[in-house]
């Protein structure tokens, strides 16, 4: 009854709700019990004149645990949230140097053995991402800590210290190799065969490459430059849509002019199915540091 009168008042004064984004309720009671109630008690109302001034205004509920009401946040000119792409899985060549990684791969490979190859690879990738978070996320700090620990154990002379020192030396060796592999993969200097340890050279090549690969702006046909992330995304999309869209043109006159240059023998060879040997040859000739495909696996994954 009372609520109807509120509604009537709101209509009479020409007010309407500012659109809400995200969680729609602003108040709760007895949450976690069967009697739980959630309501939208707090509102922001505005008349048409106000909406003309601020056409994009939205409200949002915020978190504030001290009260059973959530604060409502009125943003009159919300900036569109920058698009943050999800971090994709990428295989790191440095992983296979970590003890236990091989077992992980073998286990998850066997676990999903009933799947076909593509779902199998993606499930395996998920396992590896989880493993990476717990085992392989602080290479840099590990490399800094290891020599410190090593120096500490060097001071002790008991048998236990000796064993520990031996372990630490091995660990340090491994960490450096991993760092080496990490940068080598990014430097993309494929002419460089297994050589000496990580030098300034790898990070320098990787940085240079990153600089070259970075897109700072795009220019369209009319010569306008776009530096905004969103504009650039739209433009790139539009470009490829234009290219791949079907155009109404007649190719037959051009194709008729071209002479047949593939002999029957060649044509037979081109149409025979691939053999396993050919396939293996092609795969194994790929450099292990080359870029990964869309599934995140590079040729270094074995």
């Amino acid at each position: 009854m009372a609520y109807q009168r509120f509604r009537q008042t709101v209509i009479d004064s020409g007010l309407s709700d500012v659109p809400i984004e995200g969680y729609p309720f602003t108040w709760f009671k007895s949450l976690g019990t069967p009697r739980a109630v959630e309501e939208r008690l707090d509102r922001a109302l505005a008349n048409n004149k106000w909406f003309n001034i601020f056409p994009n205004a939205t409200i949002e509920t915020l978190a504030a645990p001290a009260s059973d009401h959530y604060p409502i946040y009125v943003n009159v000119a919300p900036t569109p949230r920058p698009y943050v792409s999800k971090r994709h899985f990428r295989y790191e060549n440095a992983w296979h140097l970590e003890p236990g990684f091989k077992d992980l791969v073998t286990n998850s490979w066997q676990e999903y053995s009933s799947h076909t190859i593509i779902p199998k690879l993606s499930s395996c990738a998920e396992d590896m991402s989880v493993w990476r978070k717990s085992h392989f996320h602080k290479l840099k700090t590990d490399i800094e800590d290891c020599p410190k620990q090593l120096q500490e154990t060097q001071l002790g002379s008991s048998g236990e210290d000796q064993v520990r020192m031996f372990e630490l030396r091995k660990r340090m060796q491994r960490l450096l190799s991993q760092d080496d592999a990490y940068w080598c993969q990014r430097a993309k200097t494929h002419w460089y065969k297994d050589g000496d340890r990580n030098t300034k050279f790898f990070p320098a090549s990787a940085t240079a490459r990153k600089k070259v690969n970075r897109i700072t702006f795009l220019e369209d046909d009319a010569g306008n430059k776009f530096t905004n992330e969103q504009d650039m995304q739209d433009m790139a999309r539009q470009y490829f849509v234009n290219i791949f869209q079907q155009q109404n043109s007649d190719f037959s006159s051009v194709i008729d002019v071209i002479n047949l240059s593939v002999s029957d023998n060649d044509s037979y060879m081109l149409t025979t199915p691939f053999t396993k040997v050919e396939f293996k040859g092609a795969i194994f000739s790929m450099h292990p540091d080359k870029c990964s495909g869309p599934d995140g696996y590079n040729p270094g994954f074995d």
């Binding site: 004064s13 001034i53 504030a64 009260s67 409502i72 946040y73 009159v76």
Partner: protein, 121 residues
């Protein structure tokens, strides 16, 4: 420009202060409307200082409940128009977009007087 309205249930309780600090640090609203502050003006003045707002207008609690407060920055060019124990109205002068009126409204906390609140509207 952005604003936050919150029924905070006691402005000076130990658990609300960190919430205020979080809200201001993360969303930096130009204007803050608080209802159920359950406080007198001296507490609101303290809060204004703590959160770094330029101006505030408190409406004292009546007995043990109610209480409103409006905190804002000078950049909004706010002018107080009207107030009662249920609402605070200010006029905001924006140089570019013109003038508009903002009313922070809060009904009676006890259910029996709700009808009176609608009448008032």
């Amino acid at each position: 420009m952005s604003l936050v309205a919150w029924n905070c249930r006691g402005v000076s309780s130990p658990s609300t202060i960190p919430d205020f600090k979080y809200l201001v640090r993360h969303f930096n609203p130009d204007l803050l409307f608080l209802s159920e502050t359950l406080a007198h003006r001296n507490k609101i003045e303290e809060l204004r200082f703590l959160l770094g707002y330029d101006c505030c207008f408190p409406v004292d609690r009546t007995g043990r409940d109610g209480g409103l407060a409006l905190l804002w920055r000078n950049s909004l060019h706010c002018q107080l128009v009207d107030f009662s124990s249920n609402h605070i109205t200010v006029e905001i002068n924006d140089i570019v977009l013109g003038t508009w009126r903002l009313t922070g409204y809060y009904g009676y906390p006890n259910g029996g007087r709700r009808t009176a609140a609608w009448n008032f509207l």
